[in-house]
């Protein structure tokens, strides 16, 4: 077809040229179909990202109250500095003058001034004194904006529970983090269209999203009880030369946490001064070997299974006994004593003998039903599940070890919950720090109905035994004049994190119990970490328990039990069982 077309019939050529161009147009059409149909979502997303900007409308973060309506976290107006780059006449000079007042390098400021933006933060939420110094310079282009900053009026008192927020008021730890969505409310704003230079052109329609005020949160904690706990804990830690400690006070009947004190304290108003390990809420995040306090579980299990009765005489072998090829020692050698004294005087040998009747399966089962090995489900973030191995993984020694609270990791929260089972007629409750009813938010964290773990009979027997601990056992210093106290001491060697063996010096001294024993209103756990010198739970933790219990009962106006003498030592400790 190439050669010699006649001048008058060029139809083929016209057709060919037009066809080639038509194919070109079809390519364009296919390409358009791909871009405009198939990839529409992708490009539309990118378009919105570069065209729209939401100018946020200020939302006040909700207030946090204690259960009596005292303010624990609130917002205050503080100054923030920002720069409008165009208005700065001499960036180098401005930076040089400003830098020392803000403790930054002039270069970092110049870098901020040079950004292609009309607005750039220079320093946020600064102290009033610095603001005054900056304002004296009268620098053009450096402006002040009042911003809402979180302030914790009780300072360190609630630091570990409430946590803190970031620079943009987003919750980072504790209640602030757990209930962030409720506290921060819904961010509102106006959607504006912007051009390629980032300038806002005009609001897009009436695209105004009204902000919703952040919700308030009321805690179950009580400022007074928290204060009593924190002060007693600090005193206890200082007296015993320990390095740390935890106190939990809980209403055993519903799981409401009344105080949660962690020492050393942490002030959320000055986050910068602390290491992350210091703001961790150790009452729920850290686990330890509970030692003898765990005998509550072993004893309750054996009594519930009717494998032992409180009166049965157990031979404690005068303090030395070999089991599974290991020698077991008691701190105070005993001969043949009734089972209630095995627990009251905290004999390891007697407890292990009874636990052997129970067997590994049953002990593990009861430990789990008392809440060990899983998270208790408190409404705070970072809770540890503790450590309780499956029975299959237990060694020949494990039964003996776990029966006396070794080879098991528990959190303070788990331990107080387990003790509260005895105080709460055998029902395990879920601990919580938010008072759902007070904020009309019953849906927020529904408290599961507690599970009945042991029978009323076992509860009565256990209560009597735990009363005996305080009356004439290891926990005598936990006694509170005018009240019957039930509880258990614990002294556990810590495992050296470096060597993996029990350390010589590191002990966890604890006391967990409840008061009044016949109608408990308070469960209290005291845990002192690495006491120097005297380190038994009875000597170190029990006095703190007593001090807290005494003051809190008075504060709560709980009338003393008229049948109990004022003296701390009585001869008739229990209603059910005589001495």
């Amino acid at each position: 077809m190439s050669k010699g077309p006649t001048p008058f019939s060029r139809s083929a050529q016209f057709f060919l040229v037009a066809s080639v161009l038509t194919v070109g147009f079809l390519f364009v059409l296919i390409r358009l179909a791909v871009i405009q149909w198939l990839q529409h979502g992708k490009w539309d997303h990118l378009a919105k990202a570069q065209h729209e900007r939401t100018i946020p409308a200020d939302v006040e973060r909700g207030t946090i109250y204690d259960r009596n309506g005292r303010i624990l976290a609130i917002n205050v107006e503080v100054p923030s500095l920002f720069a409008i780059s165009d208005k700065i006449k001499n960036p180098a000079k401005t930076a040089k003058q400003l830098a020392p007042l803000l403790n930054v390098t002039p270069r970092s400021l110049i870098e901020k001034f040079n950004r292609e933006k009309d607005f750039v933060w220079i320093a946020r939420k600064i102290e009033q004194t610095r603001l005054i110094a900056v304002e004296k310079l009268q620098l053009p282009g450096i402006e002040v904006l009042m911003e809402s900053k979180r302030f914790y009026p009780k300072r360190a008192l609630f630091g570990h529970i409430i946590g803190f927020v970031g620079i943009d008021n987003n919750g980072l730890e504790g209640v602030e983090h757990k209930y962030d969505d409720l506290l921060k409310g819904k961010k509102g704003g106006v959607v504006v269209v912007r051009d390629a230079y980032g300038r806002s052109i005009y609001p897009k329609g009436f695209n105004y999203i009204p902000p919703s005020q952040g919700g308030d949160v009321t805690l179950t904690l009580d400022e007074t009880i928290q204060y009593i706990s924190a002060r007693a804990l600090q005193h206890g830690v200082e007296q015993s030369g320990a390095k740390a400690g935890t106190v939990l006070v809980m209403n055993p009947t519903n799981g409401a946490i009344l105080s949660m004190a962690v020492y050393p304290p942490f002030n959320p108003n000055k986050i910068g001064l602390y290491q992350p390990s210091e703001w961790r809420n150790k009452a729920i995040t850290d686990m330890y070997e509970p030692g003898s306090t765990f005998k509550i579980v072993t004893a309750a299990a054996a009594l519930e299974e009717k494998l032992v009765s409180p009166e049965e005489v157990i031979d404690c072998e005068n303090g030395v006994y070999a089991i599974a090829g290991t020698m077991i020692h008691d701190h105070t050698p005993m001969g043949k004593v009734p089972f209630y004294d095995v627990i009251a005087k905290s004999s390891n040998i007697g407890t292990i003998k009874v636990a052997t009747r129970l067997g590994a399966e049953k002990l593990s089962e009861y430990a789990r039903s008392f809440g060990f090995g899983t998270r208790r489900g408190i409404d705070l973030t970072g809770e540890s599940p503790g450590l309780l191995h499956n029975v299959d993984a237990w060694s020949s020694r494990s039964l003996a070890s776990i029966a006396i609270g070794q080879e098991i990791g528990v959190t303070a929260l788990q331990m107080i919950s387990a003790a509260a089972v005895i105080a709460n007629n055998g029902v395990l409750v879920t601990p919580h720090v938010i008072d759902n009813h007070s904020i009309g938010r019953g849906d927020l964290a529904p408290t599961p109905v507690g599970e009945k773990v042991i029978s009323d009979r076992t509860v009565k027997e256990m209560t009597a035994i735990l009363e005996r601990v305080v009356v004439m056992g290891t926990g005598r210093k936990a006694a509170i004049p005018g009240f019957v106290v039930a509880g258990k001491t614990g002294t556990a060697q810590k495992i050296d994190p470096v060597t993996g063996v029990y350390s010589k010096n590191g002990y966890v001294s604890s006391f967990v119990g409840f008061v009044p024993a016949n109608k408990p209103v308070l469960s209290i756990l005291v845990m002192i970490d690495e006491a120097a010198g005297e380190r038994t739970g009875g000597e170190v933790a029990a006095p703190v328990f007593s001090a807290i219990g005494r003051e809190v009962l008075r504060y709560l106006k709980i009338p003393p039990d008229s049948s109990v003498g004022v003296s701390t030592v009585t001869t008739s400790p229990s209603r059910e069982k005589g001495a």
Binding site: P5, V17, W37, A196
Partner: protein, 394 residues
């Protein structure tokens, strides 16, 4: 239809029963032109406000040039296009003079001299050189006829003339227009009956030329690189095409609505000229871009049909040449905007803002329309005899 109503009357009047131009062509031209005015206003108002504090700055100028174009269209529709043949030597002289002038006295914009400024009016002589190329080729093909298949007798003289023309434009530099003229020349010579072997050699000759251009003007090389591998390039360079994708893609099927587009707010480069098709895609969606393509395709096939219907070579080549002059750069513009071709400044005929190009396109359209009048009337199967054979055997 409403749009063409007054023109229809006029056509009848001036046609005065002898012959009537192609009304479909008129409809297409006016549709494109109207769409162009709307889109130029939509696309340019923000830029106009920013640069001239007058959002109608570009619209007013485009409207003025459109009126001038339409006026010239109807004025020239009275004349006989065969007069071009008689005046081909003076016309050539004017074009070459203008191209030389622009090289020496042109306005320097971004290192290129493409503009002539006479008083308040500035224009691009290269636009008119494109139209001249078509007229000259039509004249030449009609004159030489069969001899075109021979190299020295047929092909060599026309290559010499158009080669010089292209060289002057290439010197500005304006590689886009040079390439357009070269491609037009090859296509029209092919239609005119030149040997395919000669044209193949000629095309091969373009390779070193293009290569040299890429070396001489590094920004062109960068554009080709960006086209071949967009990822190899800093984001700024592939920015243009991404913004075009965002405009087209966010438009979807029905578009975001006329005037509602955001991409013209300085995200798209030249939203009212080179990238106006992206703005159409954003505001009117696939429906809009599809309609524009249909209009240009219709014009293409209408032009081919007109060329087919004409029975003397000068009219044939003029018809297909002017059609290609309008449609081909439009196709290339769409190719650039959709990322099928490397970035090149080309305007979308009748739609993009720009006086010279609008005027040139109206002139080309006028020639096409004028030629369409000479199609022998066919009615009820009867085929009319040849009316004009002038120049067919000269």
């Amino acid at each position: 239809m409403k749009n063409i109503h007054p023109i229809k009357k006029e056509t009848r009047k001036e046609g005065s029963g002898v012959a009537r131009g192609d009304r479909v062509v008129l409809f297409i031209l006016l549709s494109l032109c109207l769409l162009g005015l709307i889109m130029v206003y939509s696309a340019s108002s923000a830029l106009a406000w920013k640069n001239y504090a007058d959002s109608t700055y570009f619209l007013k100028r485009q409207l003025l040039w459109t009126l001038i174009g339409i006026a010239a269209f109807f004025f020239m529709a009275q004349t006989d296009y065969h007069q071009f043949r008689e005046g081909i030597i003076p016309i050539s002289g004017i074009i070459f003079t203008l191209l030389c002038c622009v090289y020496f006295f042109g306005v320097d914009v971004n290192g290129a001299r493409r503009w002539m400024r006479i008083g308040p009016i500035s224009f691009q002589p290269s636009e008119f050189a494109k139209l001249f190329t078509v007229i000259y080729l039509a004249h030449y093909i009609a004159k030489k006829g069969d001899h075109l298949a021979k190299f020295f007798r047929g092909l060599w003289p026309v290559l010499l003339i158009l080669g010089m023309l292209s060289f002057l434009i290439w010197m500005e530099p304006d590689l886009g227009t040079t390439l357009t003229i070269a491609i037009m020349t090859v296509i029209l010579l092919f239609i005119g009956g030149a040997s395919l072997r000669h044209l193949a050699w000629l095309s091969a000759l373009a390779v070193p030329f293009v290569t040299y251009s890429l070396i001489r003007f590094p920004y062109m090389l960068q554009r080709v690189k960006t086209y071949i591998n967009p990822l190899s390039d800093p984001p700024a360079k592939s920015f243009q095409i991404n913004q075009s994708y965002i405009a087209l893609g966010s438009g979807g099927t029905f578009g975001v609505g006329l005037g509602e587009g955001q991409q013209k707010l300085f995200f798209l480069p030249q939203p009212h000229t080179d990238f106006i098709f992206s703005v159409i895609g954003e505001e009117l969606g696939f429906i809009g871009t599809f309609c524009v393509i249909v209009l240009f395709l219709s014009l293409l096939w209408k032009g081919a049909r007109i060329a087919q219907g004409i029975e003397e070579p000068f009219g044939q080549i003029l018809a297909i040449g002017t059609t290609l002059l309008i449609v081909m750069p439009a196709l290339m513009n769409m190719g650039v905007v959709t990322g099928l071709l490397p970035t090149k400044g080309l305007s979308l005929a009748f739609i993009s803002y720009g006086g010279s190009s609008l005027l040139m396109n109206w002139a080309a359209a006028e020639i096409l329309y004028r030629v369409s009048k000479d199609i022998p009337v066919r009615r009820s199967g009867k085929k009319a005899k040849i009316l004009h054979i002038e120049g067919a055997d000269s």
